[in-house]
Every structure is written in C-alpha cells, then in structure tokens.
Symmetry: none
Subunit: 157 residues, 2 copies
C-alpha cells in the first residue's frame, strides 16, 4: 500500500465514479480500477460496493477514508515543508497549505518553522472550502481537507 493507492482511493471515494476519478487523477480508467482492486485485495476488504452500476463506499471504505486522507495530507505537508526549507535557503518561502487537520498542529508547525527557518516570516491565511483546489469536496471529510494553495511570504530575507 502506497500513497498512490490512497490518492486513487480518495479520488474514487470522492467522485464515486471511476471515469471521473481517473480523469481527475490524470490517468485512464482501467489502471485506476486495477489500482483500487489491488488495494482492496491487499486489505482483504472491499472498499466499494459495485452493485447497481453505482459505486458506494462500504463500511470498510468509510473506516478507511479519514485515515487515508490524513496520511496523504501529512505526506503533502512533509513534501511542502521540505521544499519550503529549500526555498528558504534560496531566499523564497511558499507556505502552500492550510487544512483543518494541520490547523490543529499549527502551533507546533510554527515552532518547527522558527527553529529550522528563523528568517522566515510565515503568513497565515484561512481558506474556505470553495477555494480548495481539486480534491476534497465539502461534506465528505469530517476531519481534514487539504487545501493546496501557495502564497509568497513577504518580509523575507
């Protein structure tokens, strides 16, 4: 199980439609079906109900959803954070993500940022659900919604 599979699952769980999910992921439908099928096989559980020609999350799928989303969210945060550190070294910092889940950890994040990049002046901003790019639609996520958005931080050495 890799992040790829989690992203695939999340897209399908959000669209409940293989074709649209595949399009959103920038891939074809068959490999997406295969990917989800492989994930289900590895988990030993069906995540979607295929009955009625309409996809539905199974109980296991619902259980899987939040944690999978959190995992991807934190992975994206790790990615952005590492790159931010590099940008910082180059003289530019982009703080590109804010989310409900990250917001809970924001104090720690800022402390870490101060420690690793003392010269950075983080600019905080709140984003509404409508401003979310791509993935997560309102009402689907109880815990975390990833918002990818970048703004340049001013006042930066």
């Amino acid at each position: 199980m890799e992040l790829r599979h989690l992203r695939h699952f999340l897209a399908v769980a959000d669209e409940l439609h293989m074709g649209r999910a595949a399009e959103r992921l920038g891939m074809a439908q068959p490999p997406l079906s295969q990917s989800v099928a492989r994930l289900e096989k590895e988990l030993g559980v069906r995540l979607f109900d295929r009955a009625n020609r309409r996809l539905t999350l199974t109980r296991a799928g619902v259980a899987f959803l939040d944690e999978a989303r959190s995992s991807v969210l934190h992975a994206d945060a790790a990615y952005a954070l590492a790159r931010s550190a590099e940008d910082g070294a180059a003289g530019e910092v982009r703080i590109g993500f804010v989310s409900a889940a990250l917001y809970e950890h924001l104090p720690r994040r800022l402390a870490r940022l101060r420690q690793t990049l003392p010269a950075v002046q983080p600019k905080l901003f709140e984003l509404s659900t409508n401003e979310q790019l791509g993935a997560w639609r309102k009402g689907r996520s109880t815990s975390a919604s990833l918002i990818r958005r970048s703004e340049q931080v001013r006042g930066w050495t």
Copy 2:
C-alpha cells in the same frame, strides 16, 4: 514520493546509519541509499548531511520528519481500520500518541490490536509532548487514560 520512501527516510533518520537502517527495514544497504537519494532528488533538498562519515539530519530533514512520521502512522491506521472493519464496527479505541515516543511501539500495538480485536476501530490523534508529560504526571491526562484504555480493550479478548 511514496510511503516506502517515508518509511525508509524514517528508519535512516532514526538510526543515522544506512547499514543499520537497512537491516531494520529488512533490505540491503545500497537500495536504501538509492531510495533516500531519490527522495532527496524529488524534494530538491538534502535531507541528510553526509559529511564526516556520519549522517546528520539537515534542517530540511528535521522539517520533513514529523509530517513524514504522521503520514506513515495514519497510513498504518487506515490499513488497520479497513481490515478490522470487515466484521463490522464493534468498538472504537482512541489512541493518543506523541510522535517520537510511541513511534516504535504504535505499529506493534496496532498490529496486535488488529489481531486480537479485529472489530475495534482505533482512532489516532497526536498530542504535544507537553500534553503527554503533564498527562503522565497526573496519571489521568487524556493521552495516558486513552492509552490505558487501549490496553484494557486489548485485554477484553
């Protein structure tokens, strides 16, 4: 960037020694070096300092660490949840953890929980170090009680 790379990075960050980290991961040293190198290349950042024949986390590596760890933990939780949900939700366990302290034990806990109580749904959430410390001193803080509760639950078998 996949979970595999995060796990590799975490092992190396923990051991600060490619050989031992590789052994812990059950793989050879060269592919581990390659994996980390590939991750660094994708991030565009050095995560480790190789000078002095001794590995050290760079600032970017430190910044990367916490989120990478969270991502892997949530992925493991998602995995455990999906598998346990097969029998239908019969319970829920909330497990508080502080990343550094329980990282070693949490996967084992989850695995064991999965074995003994497949119907239980663990919910992971992070707590700051201060919360943990205060909790344990009082002996009744959120995290302490929650962890204790997970032990009890495990004993239900």
